[in-house]
């Protein structure tokens, strides 16, 4: 995976999401006509906004480091692991329109490798904590029913900071952090299991651009509609 022009993508994705949202809220002309007729017929129509909902999502699963990496050639018997067990926490504001916004953080293993140098064991472990502003929207909004696949599927994109952590175990332990701008993109399917709870499956791409770390994750999530007003 080649590094991406983060700035360009970030702004265009944001623009795209906003324009889609605006478009989604535009009522088709026939329906607009019927609604106008209804408004004329019923002067008691409720014009208040809402409801708004605060939704908390927590999940975990499996990650796969999906870009190039380098294991130093000085290491004998190298053993590389690209898999990890990520976890994530997301707080989203669901307004009365399509576009949702929120914050996401969590923890994702990027990769690790171990081996020997002149008989001594070595181990390098790399992980990241994303701190991202995310935007999400369901594929279906004013179409279908609650059972429609499109209304249960959502796409999510975000950008922000990745705190990248490295740990070296060789002749002592060195732990270091470095920050990197980055982005994420995800697609999810949500299934209701109660009035306030859903479970969801999400496929997600994390990309910490400056440090060229990227991971593909598959997570099972619990979605809690924590608060509505």
């Amino acid at each position: 995976m080649l590094p991406l022009r983060l700035q360009t993508i970030r702004w265009v994705v944001l623009f795209l999401l906003l324009s889609l949202t605006a478009q989604a809220q535009r009522i088709p002309s026939a329906r607009r006509q019927r609604r106008l007729q209804a408004i004329e017929a019923d002067s008691l129509i409720d014009t208040r906004r809402g409801p708004y909902t605060l939704v908390v999502t927590a999940g975990g699963g499996l990650s796969y480091y999906s870009t190039h990496l380098g294991v130093p050639q000085t290491i004998d018997e190298p053993h590389l692991s690209r898999f990890g067990t990520p976890s994530s926490l997301r707080v989203m504001w669901y307004p009365d329109h399509r576009l949702r916004v929120g914050l996401e953080t969590g923890w994702t293993t990027m990769y690790s490798y171990r081996g020997k140098v002149a008989g001594d064991n070595t181990h390098v472990y790399v992980s990241a904590v994303p701190i991202l502003v995310v935007f999400s929207m369901p594929l279906g909004w004013l179409t279908g029913t609650d059972r429609s696949v499109a209304r249960r599927m959502a796409i999510t994109a975000g950008t922000g900071l990745y705190v990248n952590h490295s740990r070296l175990d060789y002749q002592g332990t060195v732990m270091s952090n470095t920050n990197s701008l980055g982005w994420m993109a995800a697609a999810s399917y949500t299934y209701p299991i109660g009035r306030r709870f859903r479970i969801a499956g999400e496929l997600k791409w994390f990309d910490a651009v400056a440090v060229e770390n990227a991971a593909f994750t598959a997570e099972l999530q619990l979605v809690w509609r924590a608060f509505s007003w």
């Binding site: 390098v124 279906g140 060789y170």
Partner: protein, 422 residues
Amino acid sequence: MKPIIYSLLALLLLVSLSCRKTYEAPVPYDFTNLPGSGQFGTAVRSVTEGVYTVSNGASEFGDQVALKWTYLHNGADTSYYLSVFTGKDAAYFNLEGTPQTDSLVLGGYWRKLVNDQIGLVQLTLRVKHQGKLQLYKGKLASGDTMVIDGLYGDKNSSLSHPITFTYNRPLNPRPFSIMAHRSGGRTSDLLPASENSVEIIKLASRLGATGIEVDVRYTKDGVPILYHDNTLNLRLIQKNGLTGPVENYTYQQLSTFVRLINGEKIPTLEEAMETVVNNTALNFVWLDTKYIGPMDKVQAIQQKYRQKALQMGRDLRIIIGLPSTEAVDSYKALANKENTPILCELDTALTRSLGARIWAPRWTLGPQTAEVQAMKADGLTVFVWTLDEPEFIREFIGQNQFDGILSNYSPVVAFYHYTEQP
């Protein structure tokens, strides 16, 4: 659903088009590094050095170039290289004599530092004798003119474009320090060796440098090493998972896990100085203080290699650069600092009070004519750093105020210095 599908397709297209191009400039020529000068003996090297007028190839390399020989010691052997410095796009040629018996032929490559253009070049030494062009056989009669011509190619083609240099005048003989930043040049300029590596030190002379500035830091266990940035990052090193300040790691850890972009180890300051003294013709080393803390180990290395150079009959100046008040404090805390030559980048009053023999203001402060003249009147040497803009390099050299320029583009400084008419 249609708008969604179109939007997703647009997003995918956008992502795929947003992939950043990877810039590379691999050197297309394998140097033989043959010891000795071959047919290019002292006399031949002497007559080929100079300022030449460019006829064929002027649109690519400008209308004049400077040709200068350098050498590299390897034990008892010495390899010679011809550099060509041009006035366009920071282009330079790096050439060596090829072992052909019937003519004097140079082979190598050219490169433009402002982009990733690079290509092969092959030149033949000729002489214009009584109006007729003939192969140069090592003798130049009165009235003869040296002509060096041949072909050059680019990334996409082999040798296909004609190029001709015609001797115009000798190189500017005025003493002037051309100091290469980061031990020779920046990694980001796609040079064939990484910045602050032993390999770039060996290359520095061929890039026009007469001296180098090296960035000194300490490892966790107190080994002085060469590294510019505060942290390990992918601008300077190959990906290995390690991040954070270089000072967090011991030398053994760095030596085992970290390789610079072109695969070199991070050198210790001692390894770098060994290279300067044993392999190069460089006459100046500026030890830039990138660390905060005691300076005694750097002072000891400076004194050790100064003595070693003197024993080898070399006039090599090794000075410690003081870029900050913290570095000044470290210098003041040294014992026996009277014999430790320093360069001060701060104001003139502090430079005088420290007894520094070199003052080096940053170039963005302008020519500072009065201050420079006052310092020079007091017997100080004055350098300016880090100047990369060709127009300002030309202007500063033309003003003849400074004794040297520190630059990431030493080929540009070399061009404007050697082509300057005294």
